[in-house]
Assembly symmetry: C2
Homo-oligomer: 338 residues x 2
Amino acid sequence: MLSERRLQVLRAIVQDYVGTEEPVGSKALTERHNLGVSPATVRNDMAALEEEGYIAQPHTSAGRIPTDKGYRLFVDKLAGVKPMSAPERRAIQNFLDGAVDLDDVVARTVRLLAQLTRQVAVVQYPSLTRSTVRHVELLSLAPARVMLVLITDTGRVEQRVIDCPAPFGETSLADLRARLNSRVAGRRFRDVPQLVEDLPDSFDVEDRGTVSAVLSTLLETLVEENEERLMIGGTVNLTRFAHDFPLTIRPVLEALEEQVVLLKLLGETQDPGMTVRIGHENAHEGLNSTSIVSVGYGSGGEAVAKLGVVGPTRMDYPGTMGAVRAVARYVGQILAES
Amino acid sequence: MLSERRLQVLRAIVQDYVGTEEPVGSKALTERHNLGVSPATVRNDMAALEEEGYIAQPHTSAGRIPTDKGYRLFVDKLAGVKPMSAPERRAIQNFLDGAVDLDDVVARTVRLLAQLTRQVAVVQYPSLTRSTVRHVELLSLAPARVMLVLITDTGRVEQRVIDCPAPFGETSLADLRARLNSRVAGRRFRDVPQLVEDLPDSFDVEDRGTVSAVLSTLLETLVEENEERLMIGGTVNLTRFAHDFPLTIRPVLEALEEQVVLLKLLGETQDPGMTVRIGHENAHEGLNSTSIVSVGYGSGGEAVAKLGVVGPTRMDYPGTMGAVRAVARYVGQILAES
DNA sequence: GCTGGCACTCGTATGCGCCGAGTGCCAGGA
DNA sequence: TCCTGGCACTCGGCGCATACGAGTGCCAGC
């Protein structure tokens, strides 16, 4: 096991490297931190840390930089979450309070997160399946054409157009609308399939086809893979590493445009608590030199989706985690209010 | 005025430069194009073109590159719009046909445009004010809380939550919903303000406050500046110029994140036809070395919004214009169908 | 008005040497 | 056993000088 001092050395290396973005040497370390030992001793510790794989040298005769394993230890054992200051918390609340609808909430959250962390922000829209049905609306667009509108308690709205197998009268439509809502309003979307299963049976034969069509579209809308959306912002922040990143920035942008990839990464863990995935811990190759800090958020106790940031492995983990956690908390509040 | 041959030389310079991304010299020009004259003659022409400001040398003893003015002339007089091939057109249609709702249409359009042009794509959501009301829905969330949902003929859905000054019964709500729809359904959003002006008067005194609150929220939603949204994609393509752009990429990303800036640029001209803004013609400083090709699209004859691409001034204008135009056309069709 | 020839410019690529930060190792001391 | 100062060594970065070559402008001749 690593001695207490060696852990301190590792912590110091991570902090300095994150601050300066340059490999840190033994002499600089002893000068900037009160380790109480000489550079030579620190060198020995560094050699040990390197042996264990926590740090590495970019090339001989350069300082050390933390490895993914080093960051992992730092995040798990050596650093806490830096809480937001009171003014910062107030600013977050003010900024989010002005939102007029869900799109606005998500858009503001993305901007806020990107600004606070100076990194790329990712916010997932509240999952349909984990939300509650507020209302289901059916509109007649044409004799044999119906629009289905789903509204969730989180303010999310989905709509689909359905071509009916047969003309569907206004009274039938009103009937279906009423029965549908009486069954599903206030219930979880996840339970909707069972709740509507036998609904077609109670309709006249000539209407059953249309009712089934409507229901199957409703169920399709709830299929886990399709129903998830997300918004991304703050990609400008990628250019802050332009000096060494002109080649690294590209795969990251590519990964970010592949929303499927991001959704998979975010969804990897069910745990609604804070998750930090460092460098190669991310399955996607393009994100091998980035870390993802994410956390679930939701209107009540349960998380309805995730949000987080993507940044270089060399990031300020305590600060980032603090910002992500604080934002998630306030977004949850906003959603609960609306 | 420039002689015919000099225009040919300019065209050749633009084409070569766009292809090779390197300053083009007189010798290379005569080799790659059948100008029928010697390099020396071309040199004279180039000197004249430079004199007139159509081309410039990055430094002495380098080839020439087109200036913004040169590209302008090229676009206006020397190049047409390159039509898409039949397979390309088919691919566009197939790709867009799979969309399930407006968000999906917009998302697919962005991806498509980015892929076709290999540039950054920007698609504006159909403007509310230029669309037609399909339906207005009112839902009671709590005794004194109402949700307003607007649905347009283009499939766009907006929703707002309204806190009512007084409890508002279900029957009053149904009444308002019915009257509202009978007045505005099928009408243009732009005309809605006049159409609902006197609506509160026809309600009982105790309900008037709520009716006014609903209407004023409705009108706020239609305010031009707030109601416009857009989606951006293909930012990866910016990295294709990474060699000379590590510093230019940043302001562009910044401008792209400022959606307001983009909306202003897109909205600058009312003309629904194709617009090309080259380099410094863009008011925004960060976009001084990019060109924007945009065009209006719409379900019927009238344009409901714009779409386009942002790329380096050194872009394939005929190809880009062709792709933008073709995509706009198909998006219009899709919207008309739904 | 076009062309070939020619001197000139200047940016880029290449090679070389210096500098200095940082290391590993070792012998001596607490 | 652990820490420390000293020392030789490594190696990337930087500055400088040189060579190269693409491309130009100009001019005399056709």
